[in-house]
C-alpha cells in the first residue's frame, strides 16, 4: 500500500519544528522514526495533511549527563540507546527494554521519544519511563514545559502533548545505590508486541529490598506502576518468598483489555508471574 498524499516538512531545529507544526494544518502529524506511523499511513488508517519529519533536528538526538539526570534526546534511535555508554551505566533498564523492541532494522529508525509520544500501551518503553520517574521535556509555541511520566501518558495512544507541541527530550534520574534491573517481556513471537511486560528496578540494602519501582506494559490504556507491589516490597526481606508474596498484588489497579492474544484475566495472571520474575531477577535472587 501507498500512503495518501501529504505535505512534507523537514525542520532542522526545534524552533523550526514547532513553527512547522503550528503551520501544519488541522491534520499535522509529527514523524520521529516513522516506524509506527508509516505502516499506519500505508494502511491508510492515517492520512495526515502534513508530516513534520524531525529526522534532521540534530539537537534532539543523543544522550548527555546532567549530574543527577541523564537527558535523552527524543530522536535518539533505539539502536543508539542500546549502545550508549551513559545509559548502560545509569539507566540500564532502558537499554534492556529497548533491546526487546521490534527488530534490528526497526530499532535503527525508531526513536526513544517517538515510542513514548506514540504511547502505545503495548510498547515497551513507556512502562520503563514510568518506572524510572522520567520527565518529558516538551516544546511548544509557548516555550518549554516539563511533564512527569506519571502525567504524560493519558490514554490509549494519547499523551498530554498538546496540539502543536513536540516531545524534545526525556530526563531520566540516575539510579544511585545498589540497583538491579530487569525487563520481563512476554509475547508469542519475537517481533510481536508485548502481551504483558514488567519493568523492574530494585535497590537492595543489607539483605532487604529498600525500594522497588515496577512499571507495567499493556495492563491498561496507559503504562502503569504496580504500586501495591512496590509498597509491599519496600523494606521487605530480599527473599524469593517475600517477592512472590508482593508480586501477587501486581494486578491491583490495572484494567487490561482483551484481544486476540489474551483475555484480561489471563493478563492479570501473567502480570503477577512476570512481576515476580522481574523483581527476583532485579533483586539478584
Amino acid at each position: 500500500m501507498i500512503p495518501a498524499p501529504f505535505e512534507y516538512v523537514r525542520p532542522t531545529t526545534v524552533e523550526e519544528a514547532v513553527q512547522a507544526v503550528a503551520e501544519g494544518g488541522e491534520d499535522v502529524k509529527i514523524m520521529a522514526g516513522g516506524q509506527s506511523l508509516i505502516p499506519v499511513m500505508r494502511l491508510r488508517l492515517a492520512a495526515p495533511e502534513t508530516i513534520v519529519d524531525l529526522g534532521r533536528v540534530a539537537e534532539m538526538r543523543g544522550v548527555r549527563d546532567e549530574g543527577d539526570v541523564l537527558v535523552i534526546g527524543a530522536m535518539t534511535t533505539h539502536a543508539e540507546v542500546i549502545t550508549d555508554p551513559l545509559i548502560a551505566q545509569h539507566a540500564r533498564l532502558i537499554a534492556e527494554a529497548t533491546e526487546t523492541v521490534a527488530d534490528r532494522q526497526t530499532r535503527r529508525r525508531g526513536t526513544f521519544g517517538g515510542a513514548l509520544a506514540h504511547a502505545d500501551p503495548a510498547g515497551d518503553l513507556a512502562a520503563v519511563a514510568l518506572a524510572l520517574d522520567a520527565e518529558m521535556v516538551i516544546a511548544g509555541p509557548g516555550g518549554r514545559r516539563t511533564v512527569p511520566a506519571s502525567e504524560f501518558f493519558v490514554d490509549y495512544l494519547t499523551t498530554s502533548l498538546d496540539e502543536g507541541e513536540i516531545l524534545v527530550e526525556i530526563r531520566v534520574p540516575k539510579l544511585s545505590g545498589d540497583w538491579g534491573v530487569r525487563y520481563e517481556k512476554f509475547n508469542r513471537v519475537a517481533q510481536a508486541w508485548s502481551i504483558v511486560a514488567v519493568a523492574a528496578a530494585v535497590r537492595r540494602e543489607d539483605g532487604h529490598i529498600a525500594e522497588a519501582r515496577i512499571g507495567l506494559t499493556n495492563m491498561g490504556p496507559t503504562p502503569l506502576r504496580a504500586s501495591a507491589t512496590e509498597a509491599a516490597l519496600a523494606g521487605a526481606p530480599a527473599t524469593a518468598d517475600a517477592v512472590a508474596a508482593a508480586a501477587r498484588s501486581a494486578a491491583e489497579g490495572t484494567s487490561p483489555s482483551s484481544d486476540l492474544n489474551a483475555q484480561a484475566d489471563y493478563r492479570e495472571h501473567l502480570v503477577q508471574v512476570l512481576t515476580r520474575r522481574a523483581v527476583t531477577a532485579a533483586a539478584g535472587l
Binding site: A4, Y8, R10, G34, I38, D103, R104, Q105, T106, R108
Partner: protein, 168 residues
C-alpha cells in the same frame, strides 16, 4: 514533488518524488532496483531491507525523501565490482540458505548488517539478529548456517560446529 538525490549502489540519482513515495518504491520503480522487493505492508517481513548510510533498514518504512542525500546499498550493490560475490551471498548459496529466494535479498542485507555489529555471533544471536526477516521456505536453519559460515569466512575461522546439522 520534492527533489531528492541519493547515491544508490555507487551511482548518484536525482529525482522529483512525491513525499509519500516509499524508499522501496522509489528504488524499484524510479531507479529500476528491482532486486529489492516488497513482502508486506506492516514492516514485519524485512524483504525490503537495504542499507541506509551503512545501516540495515526496512525500505518500506522509510520515505524516499528521508533518504535524500544518503548512501543506499541494495542487494544489487553488495557484490564486488568484478562481480565476485560477498561472503554472505556466497554462504547463502553454499549452505542452501534460500529456496524461492524472495526473502533472500532482505535476509542477506540484514545478515551483513548483523555481522558488521557482531562478527562472531552464536546461533541464538544469529536467530535474534534476523528476527525482522521472515522466510517461509527454509525453516531458517540453513540461513543460520549460512550466516555462521560467512562469519567464519569474514573472521577467518570456521563455522561453529553446532550449526552444521545432522544431515548433508
Amino acid at each position: 514533488m520534492t527533489r531528492v538525490s541519493m547515491r544508490v549502489d555507487g551511482v548518484t540519482y536525482t529525482d522529483e518524488v512525491e513525499p509519500r513515495t516509499l524508499l522501496v518504491h522509489h528504488l524499484r520503480e524510479a531507479l529500476g532496483k528491482v532486486g529489492t522487493v516488497v513482502g508486506c505492508d506492516t514492516s514485519n517481513c524485512g524483504a525490503c531491507t537495504v542499507h541506509l548510510d551503512g545501516q540495515a533498514v526496512k525500505s518500506c518504512t522509510v520515505l524516499a525523501v528521508q533518504a535524500d542525500g544518503a548512501e543506499v546499498t541494495t542487494i544489487e550493490g553488495v557484490a564486488a565490482p568484478d562481480g565476485s560475490l560477498h561472503p554472505v551471498q556466497k554462504a547463502f548459496h553454499e549452505m542452501h540458505g534460500l529456496q524461492c529466494g524472495y526473502c533472500t535479498p532482505g535476509m542477506i542485507m540484514a545478515s551483513i548488517d548483523l555481522l558488521k555489529e557482531n562478527p562472531n555471533p552464536s546461533d541464538t544471536e544469529v536467530r535474534e539478529g534476523i528476527e525482522g526477516n521472515l522466510c517461509r521456505c527454509t525453516g531458517y536453519q540453513n540461513i543460520v548456517r549460512a550466516v555462521q559460515q560467512a562469519a567464519g569466512e569474514l573472521s577467518g575461522s570456521a563455522a561453529t560446529p553446532e550449526t552444521t546439522g545432522a544431515q548433508a
